[in-house]
């Protein structure tokens, strides 16, 4: 059977494209095809991305992929975006919530929208979820991408907006742990002054030249869906508790990924089943919170 082309996979995305190949948000078949074609080499060969637990990502309908930033630039988001397109059947488009500064820049503005990445506004996220799209969220925000090499597998504070939104739109959260991003571009410092001059939050500085990502193996570990019950207007304390559960799930996915990476035995659990035991000691994920 001949190998399916990228264009054919784009054709199979569950998105209402117009006769001109553009969806109501401006996502373009032509641009998706070009971007995925360029990404394929990096995804499959340069970074040899390994994806685990993809069966946890719903094949259709609304869902929120929520995970950790792994340092430097947006390699993590790009590979998650690639994983659900290259590996899922049918392929899915993960739509990210980009930092606001991106849309101010020529070409970045045009391209980000055409490949489905919009400014990180609650209005965008809610609308996309209401239309049963797949949202990609990094609750650490820009603080997460600013992690230095030594902090690459840690988690910084999470925002809470994503959780309120998940409750309001009754969206399952699929946690994921991303490994290797910090090794690919080991950041030794961030220049906030230079960033301010260039209109971005900061500029990551690496200890070698040219500062291009190294060809290290990247891994994405998806965990079982977390479904919380509520309306989104709960007290901050309640939301903070739910956010901690998501954070803990992601931490466990990272931790287990690291142990496997170091060659330690996996124990009785299979990767991606979401039922994880580890130093964070949380109860099994993959269950409705407060409802079952």
């Amino acid at each position: 059977m001949p190998k399916e082309s990228i264009a054919e996979r784009v054709e199979r995305l569950q998105i209402p494209f117009s006769p001109w190949g553009v969806d109501p948000y401006g996502v373009s078949k032509k641009h998706l095809t070009r971007a995925y074609t360029a990404l394929e080499f990096f995804y499959r060969h340069y970074f040899s991305v390994e994806t685990h637990g993809l069966e946890n990502v719903p094949r259709r309908g609304r869902a929120m992929l929520v995970g950790n930033h792994a340092g430097g630039i947006a390699i993590d988001a790009t590979m998650v975006w690639g994983s659900v397109f290259f590996e899922m059947e049918p392929p899915r488009l993960a739509q990210g919530m980009a930092e606001k500064f991106i849309i101010r820049f020529p070409f970045a503005s045009s391209w980000s929208g055409k490949v489905g990445q919009f400014t990180g506004l609650p209005e965008h996220a809610e609308r996309l979820l209401e239309e049963d799209r797949l949202l990609m969220v990094f609750p650490e925000g820009a603080r997460g991408t600013a992690k230095l090499f030594k902090e690459r597998n840690s988690l910084v504070d999470f925002g809470t907006g994503f959780l309120r939104l998940a409750l309001k739109t009754k969206t399952p959260i699929i946690p994921f742990g991303f490994l290797g991003g910090g090794d690919a571009l080991p950041t030794v410092a961030n220049s906030y002054k230079l960033g301010k001059k260039l209109g971005v939050p900061y500029i990551p500085i690496v200890a070698y030249w040219p500062p291009i990502p190294l060809p290290v193996k990247l891994e994405i570990h998806y965990g079982a869906p977390l479904v919380f019950q509520g309306t989104g207007s709960e007290e901050d304390e309640v939301i903070a508790g739910y956010v901690d559960e998501v954070k803990s799930s992601i931490a466990q996915l990272i931790d287990r990924g690291l142990r496997v990476r170091r060659g330690e035995p996996k124990g009785s659990l299979q990767l991606g089943d979401g039922g994880i035991s580890g130093p964070h000691g949380s109860r099994g994920a993959g269950q409705d919170r407060n409802s079952r």
């Binding site: 117009s18 001109w20 101010r104 609308r127």
Partner: protein, 312 residues
């Protein structure tokens, strides 16, 4: 029903008048501009909406409904006079509606009220503030007129007020901001930006206003037709060539060498999208657009075919 249309001689005004006439209404028009081939059944008055003679029309006709389209939207007309027409005229229309017993007043505004900005959400809803005031100061008087009309909703409870924020019009008449910008063989754009544009066929605009009249929809409504389309696609499908210019150059280029003119503030509209959510209007009136994006651009292209270069 007796309907007065201030601003009847504009592109949409004429079509609306013909549509309402065909539906059996008595149509009375007020406009300083002429409408040479208007049907004789339409009672036309070439007067300024702010003047006494316009009030006399209201006094004599005693309309049941008024569709206020007498705002100057052309960005090329500047200054005090435009402000006076848009704000003074809107105030006069509402004063006359109240004084002479109109039951329903429709203010036809524009969707660009929301403004185009990098942190602006796609698909604005009616409860959002007018960001155009900061991003596009040249629109300030139109925004103020819209807000003035909106205050009628609570100030004049006896009058049903409808504020429509209508997306760009496109179609065979070639009227409207977008249609004018597209007319030449080469359409300037900002290099590296390709915002979504929302437009609807002029016949659908007419249908939407007629439906708002029929349903007496009270409130503020965004009015839109087919889904928005990237600017590059509109230019391509209308048979024009896009001329992407870097931002530092576009200021100095527009209005020269056959390129359309554009005020400074309008540049944000070729940089960032202004798109509205029209769900509330559809729900209130049952409006469904008849022409999709392909048919709408095809109608424009047929009426204004791309100029053929001499070498072709």
């Amino acid at each position: 029903m007796k309907i007065v249309i201030p601003g009847i001689s504009g592109g949409v005004g004429q079509k609306l008048a013909l549509h309402l006439l065909a539906e059996g209404h008595d149509v009375v028009g007020i406009d300083v501009r002429p409408w040479f081939d208007a049907p004789k059944e339409i009672d036309l008055h070439r007067v300024d909406i702010r003047k006494r003679a316009a009030e006399d029309v209201f006094r004599r006709v005693r309309p049941e409904a008024v569709v206020h389209m007498a705002t100057v939207t052309s960005l090329m007309m500047k200054g005090e006079e435009r402000n006076r027409i848009n704000l003074g005229g809107t105030r006069a229309v509402f004063d006359h509606c109240r004084a002479y017993g109109a039951k329903h007043c429709i203010f036809v505004g524009r969707h660009t009220f929301y403004g185009a900005a990098p942190d602006s959400p796609l698909f604005h809803t009616e409860d959002e503030p007018p960001m155009a005031l900061s991003t596009f100061p040249e629109l300030a008087d139109l925004v103020a007129a819209d807000l003035f009309a909106a205050t009628a909703l609570w100030r004049f409870s006896e009058l049903v007020t409808t504020v429509l924020r209508v997306s760009y019009t496109l179609g065979p008449s070639g009227h409207g901001t977008l249609a004018t910008y597209l007319k030449g063989p080469t359409v300037p754009s900002l290099m590296g930006f390709d915002p979504l544009f929302q437009f609807m066929h002029e016949d659908d605009v007419v249908t939407s206003i007629a439906l708002a009249l029929e349903k007496r929809a009270r409130g503020i409504f965004n009015v839109a037709g087919p889904p928005p389309v990237p600017f590059s696609v509109i230019v391509r499908e209308s048979g024009r060539k896009r001329l992407p210019l870097p931002e530092f150059l576009i200021d100095r280029t527009l209005g020269r060498w056959g390129l359309p003119r554009l005020p400074r503030g309008a540049l944000s509209h070729v940089k960032y999208p202004v798109v509205v959510d029209a769900t509330a209007f559809r729900k209130a009136t049952g409006f469904r657009h008849l022409y999709d994006e392909v048919e709408t651009i095809a109608a424009y292209r047929k009426a204004f075919p791309p100029p053929v270069s001499p070498s072709a």
